[in-house]
Symmetry: C2
């Protein structure tokens, strides 16, 4: 049972991705004017699983769930914050990275899920800067090792105290026989533009690099004497704040706890439901369109706060996806469906479009972008059923294009009088939601075929029926009621019969046609190699480095280069 | 001993990458006018390893070594050939792909090496078209399954006979629980631009796609009735030949067998040597500069044929690298050094530069490009020592930039009076040898720093000494004679102490800063996922699909999605 999951520390059986500052055990979020401070102060005892302690600001998924939550809250609850200072509350240590005993003890699946989520969190920090003008300054007062330095790498600006001992390092390879896999290798070369041979020296030097050399090698942006640290931090915060376009006077909205009721095979949210068909290994996510017209103005939208339907749905969908990823490993496929009035969905889109430059519009749209990226990176087969009465319009149509396969019903099922299935495109499908490869889902879908894309642009706002959608290439296949049930059932059964791993690899390739970005390189090149290494005896075998770390015994390596 | 290597069929202990048409067992190469035909006719008994038969034109590394050789020969020996027809001599089958029993029986390391080489061969087919104007038309008269269709995907044009049964397919996932990993997934989406959901259907449909649907889905370029096949093939060959810039009248040069003498720890080639330091797990490749001035003219170069020093060296280096990859798994690092007169090397470069548009210049330069790419993709730590008496100038300087680390000696070692170490750049370093990411090694090295690159362009032809090379960022570190030996020894010992797998992953990331291309996606995204899957029990476990294929027993899968 080497691959058995360790027990959660809270005695429950599921990892919960919902939290709020009142529950944080590891971070302290404070705001002063337009500068927030996010203070890492990991509670050694506050572990997600049993069997290890989070010493020296090391982290597990539980710590990162709080960090991700804090970044989201800064975007929605504190729109006037322009700079966040990422700091440690521990003396002489910034962050020791992912907890090694945790890594050594958890399953392969959890390692992969853990790295995926922490990568998404760090991408979220960069996205907050790029898309929302919320810069991060990382202040390293002590050692930033491994995942600790990788966290720093997500910041816009890295400051290192010049005290003769504080250093940044990526000791994973030397100590643990794994990679700095939370973006570390990619950000060192592609973001920081550290020369590859210096990066090689850095990544194989356990003790890391400090002082002026860290600046010369581009590993940090500046080193600062301890006596000048606070003044310099304040100065940098001011400089970065001055460049931000965030609204100085806006008041945020509270992200209240999600409404979520769980029974054995069913989770009810306010805007969607998840039904687990365990014999078939399916999670059926049914999205409901808005139950009321959109608010009349941006002010009314702000007044609704987190009750605003598009925001509520995005948060709930994000939670549902994360829950399936971490807690429902046996689910082979996620089947999306929807119900509602497409016109109502489009009315919400029109409100957002009319208030494009409003900070809340930007944040809601940005959250959708990240949720869809999370969907793309979910290692489950994704299937979307476009049925009568559905509302795949605009933003929601992305769920059709994110799917590995989509099926659309021609006409109606016998005895059913819902409106026939329709897909409606709008401008959001052509730019608002790029995938991690930098292209929209439609541009990835029609890679190298601009004429097909142009044709689609000519349909904006039109109700596209099943046969037209098939002709336009928007769905995999349109079926009539005679074939509908059987064809989908056979497909889903077949899908569940295939090797889970081979499907993960297949989908990780076919979903991302075309170019790569730093972000997609992290999820493909870096992560795929790390996942390979996470299977190799040199890391995870009984004599491997992860298992032997801290035992006083040297790991025994297979020396063959593969 | 599940990972023990099977025995070679020829009774020897090493895989040999050298062959020539007189030795081919699996391919027939014929030339008629400007059209060559490469006929696949795999000898079932002609296996590389014991324990399987190559039925239905399935292949192992031995088959691919011949294919790679044939493509090289078409470039050098047949410069007037403009089109190669890739066909099968077997009835009703084009090619059944990689042999499954071979895959099930070989080590993980061999699987990885096999896929790497076959990928390089298919990239070589595409490169022959893009860089040399030698197009490939693939004529599929029967089934092209798995690696068989992946081979077709490397062609410029795919013709499929329309006989009601001939089909193309990628059944790897359904049959074997692995990926179509020889570029298949990437070429389907990125080269053929098959829509991702249709690609999903195609890659999970064991029997594949035939007839008009294969064209509609962009899997092949045309289907042709059997009665019209030969006429249509002739017509297409004519069309593609008309577009080629290859010289219609040129006579080729013979690629004679390499001069190579092997003893236990030493391989002597005519232009380089490989010394194995087995206790230190090193392969030391010493490259020797030319021993004579270059020929006086392009005609004289042609007259020298494969004795022309740059060509000889490129072929010998390629063979040395392939030998280490496949046969010397315990080698942790390759250490490059050189000796010779940099001015003499540059004299050869000047000859080539003065005859840029000559077909042989183009082929020699193209071969170097591919050899350097092979070096980049070699999973051994690469170290270059720039010492007194060395000749890292122009093309040879790429071996400094390909290295994970480079060391340059300041001045001389005591008692040595060789000329001090110098590096010389010329125009070839700024364009002739792109890496698989599309950038030159210098552009990758100085990613996002155009000023540093411009500064280097200002040094063309200058002899750059150690301290200047360090200042310019051309070498990792310049050392004086006091530190030289110790520093390098300590580094190499440390390197050999690290986990082999972690180093492979580290180097596969740090070497390829910046953008990705279809080629680099194949070697990173696709290959890394495949390597992961090649470790997973669902594929390679005792109950996995690869092991159980053909036994009549269904594989037993772990259903967890990771």
């Amino acid at each position: 049972m080497a691959d058995a999951a360790p027990r959660l520390s809270n005695g429950r059986s599921r990892i919960d991705f919902q939290t709020d500052p009142s529950k944080y055990r590891h971070w302290k979020l404070s705001v002063e004017g337009n500068v927030a401070t996010l203070l890492m102060d990991v509670d050694e005892k506050g572990t997600l699983f049993e069997g290890y302690e989070l010493k020296l600001n090391s982290y597990d998924l539980g710590v990162d769930i709080e960090l991700a939550d804090a970044i989201e809250r800064l975007r929605f609850e504190h729109p006037a914050v322009k700079v966040v200072l990422l700091r440690s509350a521990k003396p002489r240590v910034f962050c020791a990275g992912a907890n090694i005993r945790m890594l050594a003890g958890v399953t392969h699946a959890h390692k992969v899920n853990f790295c995926k989520f922490t990568n998404e969190t760090r991408n979220g920090i960069e996205d907050a800067s790029a898309a929302s003008g919320l810069s991060t300054i990382c202040v390293i007062n002590g050692t930033a090792a491994g995942g600790g330095y990788e966290l720093a790498l997500a910041a816009d600006h890295i400051m290192l105290i010049d005290d003769g001992s504080s250093a940044v390092s990526l000791p994973e390879l030397a100590l643990l026989a794994v990679l700095p896999g939370t973006g570390g290798l990619t950000r060192v070369t592609d973001k920081r533009k550290v020369r590859r041979d210096l990066a090689d020296v850095f990544c194989t030097t356990e003790e890391g690099v400090k002082g002026k050399r860290a600046v010369d090698w581009r590993l940090v942006d500046e080193v600062v004497a301890g006596s000048k640290l606070e003044a310099t931090v304040a100065e940098r915060a001011k400089e970065f704040a001055a460049r931000s376009q965030r609204p100085s006077a806006a008041t945020g909205i509270a992200l209240k706890p999600l409404k979520r009721e769980r029974s054995e095979n069913y989770v009810a949210y306010s805007t969607l439901s998840v039904e687990f068909d365990r014999p078939q290994r399916l999670a059926k996510i049914h999205v409901r369109g808005p139950d009321a017209a959109p608010p009349a103005s941006a002010d009314a939208m702000v007044a609704l706060g987190c009750e605003f339907w598009p925001l509520r749905l995005a948060r709930e969908l994000d939670d549902a996806i994360l829950d399936i990823r971490a807690n429902e490993l046996d689910v082979a496929a996620i089947v999306f469906s929807s119900s509602g009035d497409p016109a109502q969905v489009l009315a919400y889109e029109q409100l957002l479009d009319a208030n494009k430059s409003h900070w809340l519009t930007r944040e809601v749209s940005g959250l959708w972008k990240r949720v869809f990226k999370r969907v793309d990176l979910t290692s489950r087969s994704l299937v979307t059923l476009v049925e009568p009465g559905s509302c795949f319009a605009g933003t929601l149509a992305e769920l059709v294009f994110a799917a590995d396969r989509s099926y659309m019903l021609i006409g109606n099922l016998q005895g059913d009088n819902k409106p026939p299935a329709r897909i409606v495109l709008n401008a959001t499908n052509f730019g608002a939601y790029p995938m991690s490869n930098g292209l929209t889902r439609l541009a990835s879908r029609f890679l190298g075929r601009p004429a097909a894309l142009d044709k689609l642009k000519g349909t904006l706002g039109e109700m596209i029926d099943a046969e037209a959608a098939q002709d336009l290439g928007l769905v995999t296949v349109a079926l009539d009621d005679i074939d509908w049930e059987d064809e989908i059932r056979v497909f889903l059964e077949e899908r569940a019969s295939f090797s889970a791993d081979a499907l993960t690899g297949l989908e990780a390739n076919l979903r991302f046609a075309g170019p790569e970005t730093m972000e997609s390189k992290i999820f493909a090149r870096l992560t795929a190699w790390q996942n390979w290494i996470f299977q190799r005896p040199n890391a995870v075998g009984e004599e491997g480095a992860l298992k032997r770390y801290g035992t006083g015994q040297q790991p025994a390596f297979d020396t063959k280069r593969v």
